[in-house]
Amino acid sequence: MAGYFEEMGWAELEDGQQPNHLLDMARFLIDFGLYEDNFTGEWPRLPPPASKEAVQSLADVTVETDDKSCPICLKKFNIGDKAKEMPCHHQFHAKCILTWLDKTNSCPFCRHELPTDNEGYEAFKKEKKRAEQRKEDIETLHNSMFS
């Protein structure tokens, strides 16, 4: 066993010594090549349409003010107009937002993303999220080790 530790440049824990989990974690990340942010991919084109389910479950609302307009056609809403509301609470004419979501999956105003029916894109999004999480983990780790 000692041979293995020596070879790796590590020292066995003394009696009563606690393992340094942060250091182990850092070694693990470096050994497995996760320290570099390998995932720099951008989705090369407009993301796919919103999923049928997400579109069907958009809330129908009645507009309560007359100082807003639909961000797509820019026409002013009147009090009492029917509108569709995205999860980010932005409101649009049904026809306007449905046409847009049939093209791509995000709010045209704030880019809040709805799920899609495109497996490739969903896998891409997951990998991107994982890469971001990893980067965050490494930064947290780095800060806790070197600050």
Partner: protein, 199 residues
């Protein structure tokens, strides 16, 4: 033209005309035809950039599917910038491509193009030659961009040495734009530019 596109452009046009940028003279928008499919934009070069003091014209074509698809925009005024083709004026800007969103307007797009003049993205170039100069010799890039602003956009700063070199090529019978592109491409080395033009 589809109804929604024309109606929206009309609403946008009103919005732009009321905007503080138009009032302040930093952007302009003009109609080119009655069907609202073609417009001409104008932006002034941002302060503290080589484009300062220049006025840049943009060709704007509105597709039938607007605002679900982005407007097609290119520089009509020649400009030396990593994200604009020095030959065609084509612009490499994400919101004009895969980052377009239907809530963006001609006003926000013109402001984004103006912002691009303040903050180039040399890693996502439209013109590889310009981007290379930007990365490798920013001082020469700034002088070249300032010279182009003077030559094409009415900018105030003439660069005597560059004008002289352009004149040398003109005297040899080279067309002016070609002379300027060749000299700019070869870092204003007259010999290399000449060799390139006559080979």
């Amino acid at each position: 033209m589809a109804n929604i596109a024309a109606k929206r452009i009309k609403r946008e046009f009103k919005e732009v005309m009321k905007s503080e940028e138009v009032a302040g003279g930093t952007i302009k928008l003009e109609l080119i035809n009655d069907s609202w499919t073609e417009l001409q934009g104008e932006i002034v070069g941002p302060p503290d950039t080589p484009y300062e003091g220049g006025t840049f014209l943009l060709e704007i074509k509105v597709p039938e599917t607007y605002p679900f698809n982005p407007p097609k925009i290119r520089f009509m005024t020649k400009i030396w910038h990593p994200n604009v083709s020095s030959v065609t004026g084509a612009i490499c800007l994400d919101i004009l491509k895969d980052q377009w969103a239907a809530a963006l307007t001609l006003r926000t797009v013109l402001l984004s193009i103006q912002a691009l003049l303040s903050a180039a993205e040399p890693n996502d170039p439209q013109d590889a030659v310009v981007a290379k100069q930007y990365r490798e010799d920013i001082e020469l890039f700034n002088l070249t961009a300032r010279h182009w602003t003077n030559a094409y956009a009415g900018g105030p700063t003439a660069i005597w040495e560059f004008n002289q070199k352009v004149q040398v090529l003109l005297d040899m019978g080279v067309e002016e734009d070609q002379a300027r592109v060749a000299l700019s491409t070869f870092d204003w080395e007259l010999e290399r530019a000449t060799e390139h033009l006559f080979s």
